[in-house]
């Protein structure tokens, strides 16, 4: 049994989840940019799966493998054109056992 109250890294939390990754077909794409918009930058904190990260050039990159398809990034960044957002193909992506 694990003690739940210690601080757990998001990566370790996602490890509990089931995913069927559609290799080579990411469902979310960050548009190329020089400097991220405020909302895009916020996603490096606000994405609950920590999919968004800053690279060493100060640009925001996404690795969507652990994405829980919540749509937060879409709400914040689709309209402004920072990202292109889709659901994974049918059957792929996160598979909640409990939900």
């Amino acid at each position: 049994m694990t003690i739940a109250v210690t601080k757990v890294r998001v990566e370790d939390k996602l490890y509990q989840n089931r995913y069927l990754v559609d290799s080579g077909r990411p469902h979310i794409i960050v548009r190329p940019h020089d400097k991220p918009s405020a909302n895009l930058l916020a996603l490096t904190y606000v994405c609950p799966a920590k999919c968004y990260e800053l690279n060493d050039k100060g640009q925001v990159e996404i690795t969507a493998d652990g994405c829980m398809e919540c749509g937060t990034c879409r709400i914040l960044c689709e309209k402004g054109g920072d990202i292109e957002w889709n659901y994974p193909r049918g059957g792929f992506g996160v598979l909640f056992k409990f939900g």
Binding site: A4, K50, T72, R74, I75, N86, F98, G99
Partner: protein, 434 residues
């Protein structure tokens, strides 16, 4: 050969299943599309399920639905960093033959509901994402495109039950994208513990359940709510705050959840548990003012996709089930008088929904979302702190005369928010509640 259905339902969540079941059980030819591997595999809920609204669809659901615990106690906790002030309501009346509220686990519940939909005669196609609405030359919706090869399917009417972040309705311009200030992002973990341990910690026996809703400093000045719901052998624990507040504060939802779990009032309740899942989902919080156009030529929209969610009472699944059922009943009525599925005829759905608790409840709280949003640091930080402090001052016996304690407490409230601020918050809250 082109197959033509009476209705296509997009989504197999609460609203889609209610709609598909109602339509199919009246003999309509129904196709339901679900992008998940199985119904429920994409869905997240607290989750409290309200029996009355399901009973109206499947009266004998208690015979075989996967239900966790029926609720006999509800606690509301107002928290500061080290304490909570609580209101508890518990009644043995809730131990009735047909209990009113249950906790459920959505992945299991949705699978069960979907089986009922199939038994009623609908064709359910999982692992299929609807990608686009198909319209005729006059703009009437006549079907949907899917991500399957050659995947266009046709129907007289499309029921959009695609949930809060659905793509179809927003892309087709039938509804606006939810705004960051009208949706909350919630994160949730499943903490497993033996049944007896849960019983002991929450003071319940057998299938009885207890839920805790928590507001206060756990949301770090953001408009938000934490929850702990007891299932048979697990506790659903989560917290959600407005997306706009998260973007402004750059707080991390998962760190917020970890901090909540570490709160001295919550830590002992989950100590030693095994976490088996971490999930995230949006909740529509815009209320009445965010409801989009609900019907048009060849389409209706139900559930979270239509923002039919009562954030004040944390009810969503029941509004979803009811709107799905009502939309289906309206479609059945139009069909039974051989009417085409036009905007004019489908307006019946709106008329019928206006007459139900769904719209009446949302209308009652139409000003609440804006009030809580613009005032979140008072309602979710200052007041909870003041309340905790007042309670502690009251309980600590230290020789200070009571009259002095009361004066100090009043002064603390006024210092924090000014007399005018307090009065105006109280008045605005009362007006929004009315």
């Amino acid at each position: 050969m082109i197959e033509q259905f009476d209705a296509i339902v997009v989504g197999a969540g609460m609203s889609g299943n209610a709609a598909a079941y109602t339509l199919a059980s009246q003999g309509l030819k129904v196709l339901q599309l679900e992008r998940g591997e199985y119904p429920g595999s994409k869905n997240v809920q607290g989750a409290i399920m309200y029996a009355n609204m399901l009973e109206k669809i499947i009266p004998d659901f208690r015979d075989d639905a996967p239900l966790e615990r029926h609720l006999v106690e509800q606690r509301l906790w107002v928290m500061d960093d080290t304490s909570h002030t609580g209101i508890h309501y518990r009644s043995d009346d809730f131990n009735e033959a047909k209990p009113n509220r249950y906790t459920i686990i959505r992945a299991q519940f949705d699978k069960w509901f979907s089986r009922k939909v199939r038994e009623a005669g609908a064709t359910v196609l999982c692992e299929t994402t609807a990608t686009e609405l198909v319209r005729d030359g006059n703009g009437k919706v006549i079907g949907v495109r899917t991500d399957r090869a050659g995947g266009v399917v046709f129907a007289n009417v499309v029921v959009l039950a695609e949930g809060v972040s659905g793509l179809l309705g927003t892309r087709a311009g039938l509804r606006e994208m939810p705004k960051p200030e009208t949706v909350a992002i919630a994160v949730k973990e499943m903490h497993f513990l033996p049944e007896e341990v849960i019983g002991q910690r929450f003071g319940v026996k057998g299938d009885e359940g207890c839920v805790i809703e928590a507001v206060g400093t756990i949301s770090r000045s953001m408009a938000g709510l934490g929850f702990l719901y007891t299932n048979k052998e697990s506790i659903s624990l989560g917290i959600g705050c407005l997306v706009s507040d998260f973007a402004a504060t750059m707080e991390s939802p998962s760190a917020l959840l970890d901090a909540m779990k570490n709160h001295p009032s919550i830590r002992p309740l989950i100590a030693g548990s095994e976490v088996k899942e971490y999930a995230a989902h949006l909740i529509p919080e815009g209320g009445y003012r965010a409801i989009p156009q609900l019907f048009g030529d060849g389409w209706v929209i139900v559930g979270d996709a239509a923002q039919l969610n009562n954030a004040i009472h944390r009810e969503g699944s029941n509004l979803a089930m009811t709107s799905g059922r009502v939309a289906a009943e309206a479609i059945i009525k139009v069909k039974s008088r051989n009417g085409p599925m036009t905007k004019a005829n489908l307006a019946l759905y709106k008329t019928m929904l206006d007459d139900s608790f769904v719209i009446k409840d949302l209308k009652k709280y139409k000003d609440m979302p804006a009030l809580l949003h613009t005032n979140s640091s008072n309602f979710f930080d200052s007041y909870p702190r003041l309340m905790s402090h007042a309670a502690q001052t009251f309980m600590r016996v230290d020789g200070t005369p009571k009259i002095e304690k009361e004066k100090n407490t009043t002064a603390a409230f006024i210092n924090a928010r000014s007399r005018w601020g307090l009065v105006s918050d109280a008045v605005r809250l009362a007006l929004a509640w009315r």
